[in-house]
């Protein structure tokens, strides 16, 4: 396997959980999450030549994944190309379905529900905050200044904290 392929596989494996979280935040149901996940994989591959050697892996990955997620409903043709048949063996063979997993943790559901109340850009900010990214990295991903990120994040954290403290229904 060529070196480039190895690097790509390694990058995807190391960031698999991060990608799944992005999909869960930006796509409503399991099918949409799977579509988005596959589309992000393809876009990561298509952009991979720009990554090699000159970017922070997580910054680069966040950019591609968030840009793909935010453009999800404005690139139907690309998504059609990127979508594997749901019954394709690579998704079905011995693998637990996402819906088995999605309801697994009630607390996690509460967290995702709270994130879902934010607007699309604030969702990105909160994910990076929960992922312990620095202001510099958040600014690089979104294309904002660090001070702008600081102000936005402060406001978003306040909102999220108040929602998380609400008694669950």
């Amino acid at each position: 396997m060529p070196d480039r392929d190895d690097k790509f596989v390694q990058l995807v494996r190391e960031n698999d959980a991060r990608l799944r979280k992005i999909c869960r935040v930006y796509a409503d149901d399991v099918e949409a999450q799977r579509d988005l996940y596959q589309e992000i994989l393809v876009e990561l591959w298509r952009s991979f030549s720009s990554f090699e050697g000159n970017a922070q892996p997580s910054t680069w990955l966040y950019r591609v994944a968030l840009n793909t997620a935010l453009s999800h409903d404005r690139s139907r043709a690309v998504r059609d190309e990127a979508t594997l048949d749901p019954d394709h063996p690579v998704w079905a063979d011995g693998v637990n379905r996402p819906d088995e997993r999605l309801d697994r943790d009630e607390k996690l559901d509460r967290l995702y529900t709270a994130i879902d109340r934010l607007d699309d850009v604030d969702k990105a900010l909160v994910m990076m905050y929960l992922d312990e990214k620095s202001y510099r990295e958040m600014a690089d991903v979104l294309g904002l200044s660090e001070s702008h990120v600081g102000v936005k994040l402060h406001r978003v954290k306040n909102k999220l904290a108040s929602w998380l403290e609400e008694t669950p229904a």
């Binding site: 994989l41 298509r46 970017a55 990127a82 637990n96 929960l130 979104l142 904002l144 102000v151 406001r155």
Partner: protein
């Protein structure tokens, strides 16, 4: 739950060993085959679209060029000339619209990608707003001249001319529907996202 709990919870999800919708369910070879096949299919689709557009433009040009050289009627020859010029202009205009602003590279910052994408969508809206003048008018006028040149000022010509105008009207309405239903909502969404990114937080 407070924000620190949320951070712990968020981090713990990474350690989950439950396989799910993800590359975990694919072997290395399957993962690479999937992304390579889909990326290649996307490139092929763009290449086919460009090829078909080029073939259509050349076919129209050759067909009406042949009419221009062969037909004795000046009405028909003027129409053919207008159609050739019109189709060449349409081909150039569509290509220019596509290449004027490079497609946003998804590894750029989010705000930059949104801005580029919105510029491209605005270009599409502008094209559709003016489609009557740069696309439909020269081609319809060329077709009407050919109708008159082929039939003279007859009832048959009148019926054919009405048909040409009906098709042109339908194309105009379809284009305006595409603008209203596809591109304007897209522009609104992009504008909303940009406002979310760039909102004044002072």
């Amino acid at each position: 739950m407070n924000l620190n709990d949320a951070k712990d919870l968020w981090a713990s999800e990474q350690d989950s060993d439950t396989p799910s919708m993800s590359a975990r369910s694919l072997s290395d070879d399957e993962l690479l085959r999937f992304v390579k096949e889909k990326a290649a299919a996307f490139d092929r689709r763009l290449w086919r679209r460009d090829l078909l557009e080029s073939i259509a433009a050349v076919a129209v040009f050759l067909f009406f060029g042949w009419i221009l050289l062969r037909d004795p009627s000046w009405w028909t020859r003027s129409g053919a000339l207008l159609l050739m010029a019109g189709s060449a202009y349409v081909f150039w205009r569509l290509r220019r619209a596509r290449t004027r602003y490079a497609a946003p590279s998804l590894d750029r910052p989010v705000a930059e990608v949104l801005r580029t994408e919105r510029t491209k969508v605005e270009e599409q809206i502008q094209l559709l707003n003016t489609v009557l003048w740069w696309y439909l008018a020269p081609i319809t006028l060329g077709a009407l001249l050919i109708v008159v040149g082929s039939n003279g000022w007859t009832w048959r010509a009148l019926i054919q001319a009405a048909l040409v105008l009906f098709v042109a009207g339908a194309l105009y309405l379809l284009n305006q529907r595409g603008r209203r239903c596809t591109y304007e909502p897209r522009r609104e969404k992009l504008t909303r996202l940009l406002e979310e990114v760039e909102e004044n937080t002072a």
